[in-house]
């Protein structure tokens, strides 16, 4: 009932549309076509610059220690085994996944609630709140390390992953909330009102009508939160001093700051650090452009 009405009411420019249908090749005009070499040559050069570092780390991770061969053959997994068990990357990996997933959930939920309020209501402190969100973009997390440390020490959360999760969530929130409120603004309010008429309460109307249309936006925001907290380093470095509790970036830094760096182990650790973000990236790549253009920070 609701969904039928919804489609009738607005088949409109919702963020759900993944990509506008491309016009058939034949119909493309000359103005749109650059000579092929003008595309492939610079792209090829840039690809070399992008891919050599990736190849380099694979090379070091897979070839035996001391080898100078430029192809990873004979291949060995000894570096991975060493890093995963001896250097504690198994534990770090688990901690990082935990931090990343909980940060993703918290950021998305809190930002969804706040974003909905910003998109749908006029209320007294709205302007001040928006201003605070924008200003917080200028607050460098790295420069708040000392007071944050004292707060978490007061809450007895030092050496607990909770401190890192809270800090990552807080610094992800402002941008996530702005993005989500823009996504929600793109969903016509009339859709929700139609659902109320059909007897839904506000929450149910939101869940049934708005939420499905927010999918690309939520995927973009959620993956940002995950990737960001997976990658971020300083909070974990400062708030966790027990080796059992540390995360992957801290583990990588420990490998790098050793007196004589074990390059094979470092490379293998780097690959382990990269795998989840590469998977997330491959998954969201097609949503990324649409997600951004729909929610572009313009509202």
């Amino acid at each position: 009932m609701i969904t039928k009405e919804a489609t009738v009411a607005a088949p409109a420019p919702l963020p759900a549309a993944p990509e506008p249908p491309r016009p058939a090749r034949k119909r493309r005009r000359a103005w749109d076509e650059a000579p092929r070499w003008q595309i492939y040559l610079p792209l090829g050069i840039y690809l070399v610059f992008t891919l050599i570092p990736f190849y380099w780390i694979l090379l070091f991770a897979l070839r035996p220690a001391g080898s100078t061969s430029l192809v990873p053959w004979p291949m060995t997994t000894v570096h991975f085994e060493k890093v995963w068990t001896d250097r504690g990357f198994g534990t770090f990996f688990y901690n990082s996944v935990l931090v990343g997933v909980v940060t993703l959930l918290m950021t998305t939920l809190v930002a969804l609630a706040g974003g909905y309020a910003l998109a749908r209501f006029d209320f007294k402190v709205k302007r001040a709140f928006m201003l605070a969100l924008l200003c917080s973009q200028f607050v460098p997390g790295a420069l708040l390390l000392v007071p944050l440390f004292e707060i978490f020490a007061g809450l007895q959360l030092i050496n607990s992953l909770v401190s890192v999760i809270i800090a990552e969530t807080v610094f992800q929130l402002p941008l996530s909330m702005i993005l989500i409120s823009n996504f929600i603004k793109n969903v016509p309010y009339s859709l929700e009102e139609a659902a109320w008429v059909d007897g839904c309460n506000r929450f149910r109307a939101f869940r049934v009508v708005v939420l499905p249309l927010l999918r690309p936006g939520l995927i973009a925001v959620g993956s940002f939160a995950f990737v960001h907290s997976w990658n971020h380093f300083l909070f974990a470095l400062m708030f966790l001093n027990n080796q059992e509790k540390q995360t992957i970036p801290v583990g990588l830094n420990t490998l790098m700051s050793a007196d004589s760096v074990d390059l094979g182990a470092l490379a293998a650790g780097g690959i382990i650090a990269a795998v989840p973000v590469v998977i997330v990236f491959a998954f969201i790549q097609k949503w990324l452009i649409t997600g951004f253009s729909a929610g572009a920070v313009k509202g």
Partner: protein, 310 residues
């Protein structure tokens, strides 16, 4: 406070709907979690930084702690050459990085916005470093730059340069070396944002320009660039703030060295508070950095007339 007052105010008309659906209270309930988190973990720390900046505060020298007035600030501006050195380096770092990232990012976005065989794969590959962390970037470039088995060894094999050269520990090569490492990760950010904005340029404009006989270059100058203006202003500003504040890469790649050559202001602040435990002075430095950032951002937005002429 305004918020608390608004919540406390009893709803005047008799409530007809259930409490959960009362729009008067609902927005406050919805923003409450975010507002509380930000008050506790952003606003309060910022205020305490301002407070400590007026104090002598060093946990390792508690007998000297106490109110210091503007002493910390006079020390920054009159007695601390490191402050000026690191501020100059920060400025240089931000300008070079943001400028080059914008230039390459724009070019890249224009290229992958064309239609060509293998576009999806090409996009995925050139964007991929975007997701790579600062620490992982450091790890990768440590492998590339190391003096024994790094890229210089293979270059030397081909007769370019000498064996055993480490670009990261030589004061004359360290700057370009870290700039390239950070570019590798930073260019995709601009490329993604600009590509997203390019999706919304109306094709009719190009067709009209084509009919009028405008060259591709003129189309770029008169149609594409004006359309991208706001996106470019906003992304350069966000990126500049981010590059200024971000310490992950330099902290792990060079540690600010060699000989303090790559120490940014935030890195200096981190060292002052973490290593020297001089929290009062670090807080004063933070306050100064914060004011500089805010001032520059406002000047930038004003000069660029952001959001104007719509």
């Amino acid at each position: 406070m305004a918020q608390a007052a608004a919540v406390a105010k009893p709803p005047t008309p008799p409530r007809r709907r259930r409490a959960s659906a009362t729009p008067r209270r609902l927005p406050y309930l919805l923003i409450a979690p975010a507002a509380l988190l930000m008050l506790g973990f952003i606003a309060y720390p910022v205020l305490s930084v301002f407070y400590y900046s007026l104090q002598d505060y060093n946990p390792t020298k508690p007998w000297r702690n106490g109110f210091a007035g503007f002493e910390n600030f006079t020390r920054i501006f009159t007695e601390d050459p490191l402050f000026w050195d690191t501020l100059v380096f920060s400025t240089k770092w931000v300008f070079v990085e943001v400028g080059l990232q914008l230039l390459f990012g724009l070019a890249l976005a224009l290229i992958v916005n064309q239609t060509f065989a293998g576009r999806a794969l090409g996009r995925a590959l050139v964007f991929s470093p975007w997701a790579v962390s600062g620490v992982l970037t450091s790890a990768i470039w440590v492998l590339l730059y190391n003096s024994q088995t790094g890229i210089t060894r293979y270059l030397a094999d081909m007769g370019i340069g000498d064996y055993g050269v480490s670009w990261l520990s030589d004061t004359s090569t360290v700057f370009p070396a870290v700039v390239v490492a950070d570019l590798w990760r930073g260019v995709p950010f601009f490329a993604i944002l600009i590509l997203a904005d390019l999706q919304s340029v109306s094709k009719d404009l190009y067709e009209a320009a084509e009919v009028d006989g405008a060259s591709r270059f003129k189309q770029f100058i008169h149609i594409t660039l004006p359309h991208l203006k706001d996106a470019i202003i906003l992304s350069t500003l966000l990126r500049a703030v981010w590059e200024f504040n971000n310490v992950d890469l330099l902290y792990t790649l060079t540690g600010g060295g060699p000989a303090g050559e790559t120490t940014t202001l935030p890195l200096y602040i981190a060292n002052t508070s973490v290593d020297a435990h001089d929290f009062g002075y670090a807080s004063a430095l933070t306050t100064v950095a914060f004011v500089i950032l805010l001032f520059c951002s406002m000047v930038y937005l004003r000069l660029s007339k952001f959001g104007g002429e719509k």
